[in-house]
Amino acid sequence: MRSQGRFKRPMQWIGILALMIGLIAPSIALAQDATPAAGGGGVLVGAFDVGPGGCPECPNPLQAGAGFTWFEKYYSKLMLYKSDFSAIEGDLAESWELNADATEYTIHLRDGVTWHDGEPFTSADVKFTVETAAAPDSASYIGAKFAGVKSIDTPDPLTVVLHLDEGNVTLLDAFTFLVMLPEHALKDISPADLVASTWWLDHPIGTGPFKWKKYVPGQYIELEAFDNYWRGRPKLDGLINRFFPEPGSSVIALQSGDIKFTYLTRDEATGLEGKTDLTVLSGPSQVLNYLAFNLADERFTDARVRQAFMYAIDRPTIIEQLYGGQATLANCTYILPQFVPEGLNDYAQNVDTAKQLLTDAGFDASKPVEIVTYYNDQLSQDVLLTIQQFMADAGVTVDIRAVDVPTFNQISPDPKAWTMMFAGAANGPEPDVISTGLETGQPNNNYGVSDPDLDKLWAEGRSTVDPDARAKIYQEACKIINDKVYWATMWVPTRFGGVSTSIENFVWVPAPGGGRYYDQAELWSLAS
């Protein structure tokens, strides 16, 4: 055919190439940014905001519900947990005392701590931070924990005295959430304006081991070592938190060496077994997975119905088969041994008992029960499908509806909008954090739970200073929850992180919201 050999003249190809370059070149010019050079070796790149403990590009730590693994690299708190979460220890606070009924906190600050701009950190900063966070205009749920603070005295630059309207020992835990803010930099910004202030992303000042270097929208935040960090200058020159909107991509980046740390799902952690250049870190998530009942729905007001769900679902099998054994069974809201008493009902699967309880309670099984969840990952979907099957065996038809978090949050306060939920709640290390979901009148008690015995125990738990006496109170609460099954408590899953073996002294453990423990970031270093 005559057509063969057409389009072989080089000028045509050169023309096409020139056209392409002409179109691409201006785009490259547009896309350039003036990224200055990093400080050389010793800059650790990680994905510190991937997974449930992360909050990428959330700039305001007063309002973020997660992201503390990263926030704590440039901000500091008065107190932190030990990395095994066994106790709270001082960070910017050197020591503290509570009076007998926990209505007065006297906190002694560490001497010689400076902000990144060189100003000294003082008791005035603590007073400013607590008052700013607690102001309703700050719209901070972390700040809301300090609503009971009546007044704050600062007798000297290194002493702070908090006066509370009623006894509350849980402020120690609340302080592990609250990053300290510089009064000298923020005093002219009202709490309301601070919410949407650009200060958070424009060289914010903290007292953490690293200081702000730059924010590249959509890409990363870069920090550099703070020479005057009170524990000593970090060994690393800098830290970079790279953003990964698709978590699966961060695992590929970890494996290819582009980053040194990221959160992992269980499947991803399993996939990394045997890699010599990577270490898989793991620990209990401190998040309880549970099935919540809408107690405004008369089908669930009888405790026997709720108990039937516990008997119908074979939780150990789900843990073994779906979680690969990487979850801890929860027979009440707690799994920490000091809060779990002897003699709890373990609700070993018994379908006949479940059926009998449903019959005795007159449960209307003709209508399906819908379980709504914000968990959209594959594992959770598999778990819910398995629960659906277990409930079918007991004669209950279950429908599953997975929604995103905003939709879930809109649905959950409306008792007409849902029947059951599959959700997660932080259940440690402070036992009180989970109580608000089961306390009369609390804003996140969307379930209609109102038990005077529980309410009394929650109040006692908050005002009891002695740890042993407190533990006994929460054991009592655990017994009631186990018996009444206000929530069908399932398990506390294990969570995972992957880290390159080239990082030395690296400490990371899962925690709700991330961070809140001393991870010795100033000692992290890259092996030569």
């Binding site: 490259i28 896309a31 719209a139 919410v195 929208p217 890409q219 990363y220 909107p245 698709e246 919201g513």
Partner: protein
């Protein structure tokens, strides 16, 4: 022509207003609001705090008040402030549009050039083995979701072969270099380009086959013209019309970006910004980007019509 353009631009104004009204309404109908996106499910936010935040975000205002405020501010050039990051919407768009232009411009240019070329070849060599191979390629290119090809490409070329970085826009913390940017660009641009090649090839092949059977092409051949001239001057120009439509329709994507690819590759473009805005119910970001895309779409349609008139003398815009 001038009057036509002015008329079209004037018509665009009510269309733009209607689009923004629809987007505002859809926001109200969609489940959850920024406050719901903002609060973790197990965190208690007291009613006073919730109301304070709702007031600060303007969510307690009636629909028309909010819309009127937005419209008034937009006319002053202020598209509002992101609820999540607190940066202005214009800044958020400005800092990301370059990345999207680079990614989509590269993909569209390469995709269109190769797609047209392959389409012409496939048409000229209809039913040949090459035509068959290109058709299969086009089918795969159109059918396989970019989400899958993106992850596969990352796995293969970044992890297994190590030829390219595992996503991102540049090496974090390093000074800008063209080679670094290109290395980050090639994989995501190639994935999007494959899709464009497949689409453009199919359109071009069909258009060319239709034109090649026309009387005037037969006449040109009968006059003894060189086959290359017949195809390039007589057939190709007349076969261009549907391709121009396709390119015109792709122009908004130049600005709008590719949501999935930008997410998988961590490319800081408009598509990812929009996805993040939707996930966090960041209304100012959603409306701002939609407004911008509406303008670009209307202008692209106008430009397409003008190019039609240039290519095809039968079309008169007046």
């Amino acid at each position: 022509m001038g009057r036509y353009i002015i008329r079209r631009l004037l018509i665009a104004i009510p269309i733009l207003i209607a689009i923004t009204l629809i987007v505002f309404s859809i926001q109200l109908l969609s489940p959850g609001d920024p406050l719901n996106a903002y609060i973790p499910p197990d965190f208690p936010l007291p009613a006073a705090q919730k109301e304070a935040l709702r007031h600060q975000l303007g969510l307690d205002q009636p629909f028309l008040t909010r819309y009127g405020f937005w419209l008034r501010e937009t006319l002053k050039g202020n598209l509002g402030t992101s609820i999540k990051t607190h940066e202005t919407v214009t800044h958020a768009i400005r800092t990301r549009v370059g990345a999207t232009l680079l990614l989509m411009g590269t993909a569209l240019t390469v995709g269109t050039a190769l797609g047209v070329m392959f389409g012409v070849i496939a048409a000229v060599r209809q039913y040949s083995i090459l035509d068959g191979l290109l058709t299969v390629f086009a089918l795969l290119g159109i059918s396989v979701p970019v989400y899958l090809t993106g992850l596969l490409a990352l796995y293969l070329f970044a992890l297994r072969l190590g030829w390219f970085p595992a996503g991102g826009y540049s090496t974090p913390g390093q000074p800008f270099s063209l080679s670094d940017r290109l290395m980050h660009l090639i994989l995501p641009a190639a994935i999007i380009a494959i899709n464009y090649i497949a689409q453009t090839m199919r359109y071009t092949r069909s258009a060319m086959l239709e034109v090649l059977g026309q009387d005037y092409v037969r006449t040109a051949r009968a006059k003894g013209l060189n086959e290359r001239v017949v195809i390039a001057r007589h057939a190709f120009r007349n076969g261009l019309l549907p391709i121009v439509t396709l390119i015109g329709a792709s122009i908004p994507a130049l600005i709008g970006g590719a949501i999935f690819i930008e997410s998988i590759f961590g490319w800081p473009g408009i598509g990812r910004l929009l996805l993040s805005g939707v996930e966090s119910r960041d209304y100012p970001i959603i409306v701002g980007i939609t407004f911008m895309l509406a303008i670009v779409t209307l202008l692209a349609n106008l430009a397409t019509d003008i190019v039609y008139a240039v290519i095809d003398p039968r079309i008169r815009l007046d």
